[in-house]
């Protein structure tokens, strides 16, 4: 008896999933007994809610503007552009400075001919990473091709610290102590950590970052 109930439920689930796949009308449940009907409806409702959930778009944390705003990810480091490399790549594409500038503006990057000219004259100009990518795309070269040597070094240990439970815990404790919202505190202190001299050494561990954060909090440096 139980087996035949299970078989019926499996058959219905199967038919339902097939209907979802094909965009067809779901099978009728009217032949089921009342208890079976309730169970079938509950199971189907659950499966239907989760159906193809993987297709729902979730940007990576690094690409999530809200995460960046809340200080969950370090802002992307600027890219140092090599002016000569840009000039050569632009000439190869047969583009004038004006062409590149106009295209960048059309893509929403607030640049100008004068600015671009200045970049081409410099050996190493710091530029927002998104803009640098747009330029490399436009010139048909890789970002590395137009990046100056001694490009910005990422501080992996700082990024790891900013994502660590320890960081969250320190921020939470101090938020309560200072009577401020934790995210306000986070928004104020993450940039300070990023700008800290230790960052350049690149060898700070979690303890060191924690000590630095606490020192900043204690000094009330905002």
């Amino acid at each position: 008896m139980e087996d035949s109930v299970n078989d019926r439920l499996e058959g219905i689930v199967d038919a339902y999933l097939l209907a979802l796949e094909r965009g067809q009308t779901p099978p009728s449940l009217h032949k089921l007994r009342e208890t079976e009907l309730r169970e079938a409806q509950e199971v189907i409702r659950l499966l239907e809610a989760a159906w193809n959930a993987a297709a729902l778009a979730i940007p990576a944390l690094e690409d999530d503007p809200v995460a960046a705003e809340l200080g969950l990810v370090a802002p992307r480091a600027p890219v140092m552009l090599n002016g000569v490399a840009i000039k050569v790549a632009r000439a190869r594409q047969g583009l004038s400075i004006g062409d590149v500038s106009r295209r960048l503006i059309a893509e929403g990057h607030p640049t100008s001919i004068r600015w671009l000219f200045g970049v081409e004259q410099g050996s190493s100009t710091p530029v927002d990473a998104t803009l640098a990518e747009a330029i490399s795309r436009m010139l048909g070269v890789s970002l590395t091709d137009i990046t100056a040597v001694a490009a910005t070094r990422k501080s992996d240990s700082l990024v790891a610290f900013l994502r660590s439970p320890r960081y969250a815990e320190i921020i939470r404790d101090w938020a309560v102590r200072l009577g401020l919202a934790a995210d306000t505190l986070r928004a104020r202190y993450s940039p300070l950590l990023m700008a800290a001299p230790r960052r350049d050494r690149g060898d700070a561990d979690e303890d060191e970052w924690a000590r630095l954060l606490i020192a900043l909090l204690e000094s009330g440096k905002l």
Binding site: G23, A53, A54, A57, D64, A67, A175, L180
Partner: protein, 196 residues
């Protein structure tokens, strides 16, 4: 509710919510909820508004107005407010047109995934039903790791990834019928877990 939420709820209760940690913990649920309402796949937007925009607005509002101190389930609260915000966007973007029955329809920029076609599209769709559906999906995803490994795998592949039964069966070296059995068993187990 997980243990991380206990600590986060403590902050909410004393009026010092750690919004960044809350977001880190629940961002995927929020983004999925907005995305499901706006029937997104990778790059779908409704009148220029994406799921990320909806979530950004929600977070901004939470920042300005704070979170109610009596929240019991953070994820459920965030899924609910995000879903409602996304529905709001959808409704505002609606161009009124009526079908043969005089029912208002939301314009379809692209064909909808079949699973959403009938539930989401009606302008008069029950908001609560949509919220419940998002809550159910997130609860299922949260409980998934508690299932036996084989059932987890089958649910992930057959339901969450929507892979054809025969492909899942081939991967597991079982019959498609066995896949159906495992899906049904997993769903029943989850239903029992959620009832508790």
């Amino acid at each position: 509710m997980n243990t991380a939420d206990d600590a986060l709820l403590e902050g909410v209760r004393v009026g010092a919510p750690d919004l960044a940690s809350i977001y880190a913990e629940h961002r995927e649920a929020m983004l999925r909820s907005a995305s499901a309402v706006l029937f997104h796949s990778e790059d779908r937007i409704v009148d220029g508004v994406s799921a990320t925009d909806v979530v950004q607005d929600v977070v901004l509002r939470l920042r300005e107005r704070g979170l109610p101190r009596d929240i019991e389930n953070l994820r459920a609260h965030l899924v609910t407010v995000t879903t409602r915000a996304a529905i709001d966007v959808l409704r505002k973007s609606r161009i009124e047109r009526r079908d043969a029955l005089g029912k208002e329809r939301i314009p379809r920029h692209e064909p909808l995934p079949p699973a959403y076609a009938d539930t989401w599209v009606d302008a008069g769709a029950d908001v609560e039903e949509i919220v419940q559906r998002n809550l159910l999906r997130e609860a299922l995803l949260e409980c998934l790791p508690a299932l036996p490994e084989r059932e987890q795998y089958v649910l992930r592949e057959r339901i969450i990834q929507a892979r054809p039964a025969k492909d899942v069966a081939a991967a597991l070296q079982v019959t498609p019928q066995r896949v159906s059995q495992l899906v049904t068993a997993a769903a029943r187990r989850l239903r029992d877990m959620l009832e508790k």
